[in-house]
Amino acid sequence: MPEVLKAPLTVEFPFTRSLGPVQSAFLTGLRERVVLGVRTRDGRTLVPPVEYDPVTAEEIRDLVQVAATGTVTTWAWNHAPRRGQPLGAPFAWALIRLDGADTALLHAVDAPGPDAVHTGMRVRVRWAEERTGAITDIACFEPYDGDDPAEPAGHSGEFSNFENFEDPVTGIVAPARLDYTYSPGRAQSAYISALSEHRNVGERCPTCRKVYVPPRGACPTCGVATLEQVEVGPRGTVTTFCIVNIKAAHTANLDIDVPYVYAHIALDGADLALHGRIGGIPYDQVRMGLRVEPVWTEGARFPDHYRPTGEADADYDTYRELL
């Protein structure tokens, strides 16, 4: 069995999300250093506020301002902060019930150590210096030993007394990044290893005898492992194709002029067509049945493209099953 291949894989993308009216008011409020909650019909105040009552599913819109101080309802000491978390130094995760709220908000508490944190401790918001209308506008909470604040007041959710009132937050962009070490498994490792020697090695199903290239480790018809390795190609037949008129956006493909032909190619001995670009022939002369061979470039891990071999076209019946 060949060596198991591995490669780093980073999946990274920004999620752009629109906000409902309650979420919009809450996040606009954070930007303006005001914490808003939403009142349910039975008089509970939910912070952070939601669009619908979690018990009755009723739409709720009655905003109230709550204090920037509150009480820890439970906590957990995080001695090794991870990427993206609110603080870089050890901190406490906590659920915090703000004064005037009936529910708790998840955030970080900046404290010197676990002995300085307890359920019931009083904390207050430490605002981020730069605020954009996001939960991270609260940098964290910090211990607080001042007086209890006044009762919260109703709030319209509009910040007419703030200079940015014409600019409510209507969406957030939440970046996400996850890092992996990818390994393709047995069948694909073997395929990629052989490809590095310019050989196409597929696998044969022990039941239906079909040869799959590239192999995925299982026959999708029989549901059994494909273990017998079979070298196929290098020549093959174009089974079907399309003419691409859109310039590639990927930097690796910028040199390819349009129009070009992308084709399904059945390598000799394979029962599954793979795909590749056809070159060395005008795009409007490519046809089903065209016989082709791979063209390798220096140091490449897969063929750059396929070109005509000059053989007579394959008979339709030889590849009709692979269409």
């Binding site: 198991v4 979690p54 995080n78 359920t119 939960i135 996400a176 992996y180 029989c222 549901g223």
Partner: protein, 357 residues
């Protein structure tokens, strides 16, 4: 008046075969389908069924775990899905795939169903991956990892006087001791309780991170009796969810578990066995209370999720383990539980019974 009965006669549906992989920290040498195929072949061999005999196929998995897009479609190669078969997938633990398959059999559209689940946590950092299932507006931007959230729940239980750290260590030790009899388990025997990961949870309070897969076959009525000597009849199954905001919930209780158990008929008669999907020691404390399990009930004889926790399969494995004990005659009435989301957010309860001996 009309003479159609208002309550339709429910079909009897049983779990007739169960298989799981050995669960391991890594499985680099196998793709998902390569890891999965042996358990698919195992349950088919137990029943003598061929892929073509299966009426409905349903799976549970998440592409986020291994970062491999559309891995669930590649996994379908392992069941012989071409030409197309009646098939479905849930981005959830396989226990919920089993629920879907159970409803499919109830309709009478199929007499047999294959349910499978797999999870490969090793390629990524599962603590971070699981943050992506959280509220994207107020919670996910803070990246609170799965252990941190479980630790908040554990501290709430300690504050409420429901447990303490030595008691939690006792849950961990009992689970891994029981896992000695489970050759598939990843953590077995004497396992050091370790340092705090996120206080108050220590390494020993947390599940092992690993890769694995499981499969079961469901069958209806007489078909079940043909395929299995002692079918594990699903007497009831239900799942319920709680509010998604952690700060709205009472983390020391699990009303969704209690309600699901009630709807599944779990409280109608005592069970002798319970397989609970409690990845963290503290969560067993919550579940025992919600399910009213006393010391007469054998809890997690397999070692539970503290012994092996292939994410997306671990809940299905609880149902499979409970059924396997009925198959072997070691249980007559068992409860199986599966969970999903942070701090036991969503819970499924199934009640399984064997025919009288």
């Amino acid at each position: 008046m009309c003479d159609i009965p208002l309550v339709p006669v429910m079909r009897d549906i049983a779990l007739v075969a169960f298989a799981q992989t050995d669960h391991r920290r890594t499985s680099d040498e196998h793709s998902e389908v390569e890891m999965l195929m042996p358990v698919l072949h195992d349950v088919l061999a137990q029943t003598g069924l061929k892929t073509a005999d299966i009426g409905f196929t349903c799976s549970g998995s998440s592409d986020y775990l291994a970062g491999r897009a559309f891995s669930f479609t590649l996994a379908l190669d392992g069941v012989g899905a071409w030409p197309p078969i009646p098939e479905s997938h849930v981005e959830m633990d396989g226990a919920w795939a089993l629920y879907e398959a159970w409803t499919k059999l109830l309709t009478g559209d199929a007499d047999t169903a294959l349910v499978y689940a797999y999870g490969k946590s090793s390629p990524g950092s599962v603590r971070d991956v699981l943050t992506r299932q959280l509220d994207p507006y107020y919670v996910a931007p803070l990246w609170p990892d799965s252990i941190a959230l479980a630790a908040l729940q554990a501290q709430a239980l300690i504050d409420a006087g429901h447990t303490d750290e030595p008691a939690l260590a006792g849950v961990a030790a009992r689970s891994r001791r029981d896992a000695v009899g489970n050759s598939h388990a990843q953590l077995r025997g004497s396992v050091p309780h370790g340092d705090y990961l996120v206080r108050p949870l220590r390494t020993g309070d947390c599940p092992p991170i690993g890769d694995g897969a499981a499969a079961v076959i469901l069958a209806a009525g007489d078909r079940a009796r043909e395929l299995c000597e002692r079918p594990a009849w699903i007497r009831g199954i239900d799942h319920r969810i709680e509010a998604h905001a952690l700060g709205v919930r009472d983390l020391t209780d699990s009303p969704s578990t209690r309600l699901a158990a009630e709807k599944a008929g779990a409280f109608e008669r005592l069970v002798d066995t319970a397989e609970l999907h409690a990845p963290f020691t503290s969560q067993e404390v919550v579940l025992r209370k919600a399910l009213r399990l006393d010391d007469s009930v054998r809890v997690n004889p397999s070692g539970g999720a503290l012994a092996a926790n292939p994410i997306m399969a671990a809940g299905l494995i609880r149902i499979g383990e409970a059924a396997a004990r009925i198959h072997r005659g070691e249980s007559d009435r068992a409860l199986a539980h599966a969970t999903s989301g942070p701090c036991l957010q969503q819970n499924l309860v199934a009640v399984l019974e064997g025919d009288p001996r």
